[in-house]
Amino acid sequence: MKTLWLLTSKSIANRRMAFTLSIISIAISVVLLLGIDRVTKAAKNHFLNTINQTDLIAAAPDGSLDILLNLVFHMGDPLKEVDYSSYQTISNMDEVAWAVPISVGDSFKSYDAVSTTNDYFKYYKYASSKSLLFSSGADFRDFYDVVVGSEVAKKLHLTLHETIHLSHSNGASAHAHANRDFYICGILKPTGTPNDTSLFFQLKADEAIHIEWQSGHFVDMHISSEQLAKMNIQPKHISGVLIGLKNRSDILNVADKLEHFKGENLKAVIPAKALSKLYLLLKNMQEILTLISGVVFVAAIFGMIATMLATLGERRREIAILRTLGATIKSIFILFALEAFIIVASGILFGHILLTLLLILNNLVFNTTVQISYFPDVYELALLFIMFISAIIVSVLPALKSYKNSLQDGLMVKI
C-alpha cells in the first residue's frame, strides 16, 4: 500500500497541471454546493426569526405577505393607511393585551424611518422571545427623539445626541425635513432583523413634521420646532398595528372581529402563518439552487474523469511498466482510486477553505446582519460524503480502460 501511495504521488507530480485543474473544478463545485446551502439556510433563519410573540398584525386590507413585508421587513409597495382611532379601539378591546401602532414611509439616507411609540421597544420580540435592547441611550423621552438601529449607527457613524434630518418618503430624490432637527436618544443592539437597518421616532412627531406637507408639496408655515412640539398634535393615520393577545387561543376569533371591524375595513395577519407562506417560497428557491449546484458537482466529477482518461495516453507506458513489473489488476485499480481520492479530498478541503474565506470577506465588506455559519452541519457533511464516494466509484472507469490498454500495449513505443 505504501508503494502504491508513492507511485500515485510520483505519477501525479508528473501530471501537475491536469491534476491541479481537477482539484480546482471540484473545489469550485464544493464552494457552490455548500455556499448555496449556507446562504439559503441563513436567509431562512433570518426571515423566520424576525418577529415572535406578536399574535396579529392589523392593517388596511391587502395580501398577508404584503402586510408582513411592509410592516415587519419594511419592503414592498406602501399599504393604504389605517385611521389612528382604529388603533385606539383595538387597544381597548377585551382580548387585547397590548397593541403597538406603527407607521412606515419616511426614511433617513435610504434607511427606513418607522414612527411608533415606546411600546414598540417593550413588546417587539424576535427569534425565541428576545427583546430589543439598547447598546447606548434609551427609548423616547423628548418630542424629537430618534432611536437608531445598530447597522444604521455603524454605517453612518452616528453617535448618541447627534442631530439628523429625516426625509419625506424614501428613495434618492427624497425631500428632507430639513427644518426639523431630530436628536439620537438611543442606539439598539444588533438583532439580525430589519430593526438593525431602521430608525424609530415618535408617532406624534411623524404627524407634526408632516403638517407642512399639503397635497404632496412642502409649504413652509414658519412654525418653530419648539412651537410644533407644544402644539399637541395627535396622530391621524398609521400603517398598521402589532397586537398581542391575553389568550392566544383567541387569535382567530380576534382576527375575525378585526376583519368585520365597524367603521373601517381591516385585515388581520398572523405573522407566523404569513412567514410559513414565505418559507414555502424560499424552500422552492433553495431546491432549485441546490439542484443547480448538484449539476455543477456532477460536471466537476465528469471533468475529473475526463482529465484522468485524457492523461491515460501519457500514462500508457507508466502502466505498462508497472504491469510488466508484476502489478496486479487490483493494484492498478487502487492506483486510480487513490488518485481520485486525493483529488476529491483536496478539492473538498480547498473548497471549504475558499468558502470560509469568502464568507469572512463577505462579513467584513458587507457587514450584513444575516449570520452565516462557518461550519458544515450534518446535512452538508452527508452531502460531502456522497460526493466523495461517488467520485471514487466513478474512478473505476479510467482504471478499467487503462487495464485493458495495458493488456494490448507492450513496452515498445508505438506511434
Binding site: 387569535i251 382567530l252 398572523i270 402563518k273
Partner: protein, 176 residues
C-alpha cells in the same frame, strides 16, 4: 407446570408487544359536549329570523347571536386530562428555529382559512415539546398530534373555555 409457565410467558410477551401507549381520544367529535345540539340552536334562530325584515339591524343581530350560541356550544368536560391522538391541520403561531412550536389545531383544512373561526370545541391550542414541533415545510400538511388534552379557562371576561395540549409530540402524515 411448565405448560402453565410458558403460557404465562406468552401472555406477558403479548402484552409487552401491545404496550404502545394507548390513546383515549382519537376522534374530534369526542371534544363536543354530547348534550350540545347544533340543529336545535339553528332551528331556534331560524324561527326568530323569519319574523324580522331582511337586511335590518335586527336580522344582523340575530345572526350574531346564533354565531355566538354556536360558539358557546359545549366543550366536553369529561375529556379533560385524557390522552389524545388527533389528526388535523395547523395555523402556525410561534416559530422556533425551523419548526412551528405553537399552533392552533383544527380537524380540517378549511377551518384554517375560512371565517368565521371554528367553534372552541373544534380548536386546540397546541404547544409542542422542545424539538417535537411541526417542521416549517410541513405547515400545510396533515399533522398528527399526540398529548394530553386539557380544558383551560381564560381570564378574558366573555372568553370561552378552550382546549389546550402542552408538551405535544407532532408528526406530519406522509403524503402518498
Amino acid at each position: 407446570m411448565i405448560k402453565k409457565l410458558s403460557l404465562l410467558l406468552l401472555v406477558l410477551l403479548f402484552s409487552a408487544c401491545s404496550s404502545e401507549p394507548s390513546f383515549d381520544i382519537k376522534d374530534w367529535s369526542k371534544l363536543i359536549d354530547p348534550s350540545f345540539d347544533q340543529q336545535k340552536i339553528v332551528s331556534f334562530y331560524k324561527e326568530k329570523v323569519l319574523h324580522v325584515k331582511e337586511g335590518t339591524p335586527a336580522e344582523i343581530a340575530i345572526y350574531a347571536q346564533m354565531q355566538e350560541a354556536l360558539k358557546q356550544g359545549g366543550n366536553n368536560k369529561a375529556i379533560d386530562g385524557k390522552r389524545v391522538k388527533l389528526s388535523g391541520y395547523i395555523v402556525p403561531i410561534d416559530i422556533d428555529g425551523e419548526s412551528v412550536s405553537t399552533f392552533l389545531f383544527f380537524p380540517n383544512q378549511a377551518a384554517c382559512i375560512h371565517v368565521p373561526a371554528s367553534p372552541a370545541n373544534q380548536t386546540i391550542f397546541v404547544t409542542a415539546k422542545k424539538g417535537e414541533g411541526v417542521m416549517m415545510e410541513d405547515a400545510y400538511e396533515n399533522i398528527v398530534v399526540y398529548g394530553t388534552i386539557k380544558l383551560r379557562h381564560t381570564e378574558v371576561a366573555n372568553g370561552t373555555a378552550s382546549f389546550v395540549i402542552d408538551d405535544a409530540t407532532c408528526k406530519a402524515v406522509p403524503r402518498l
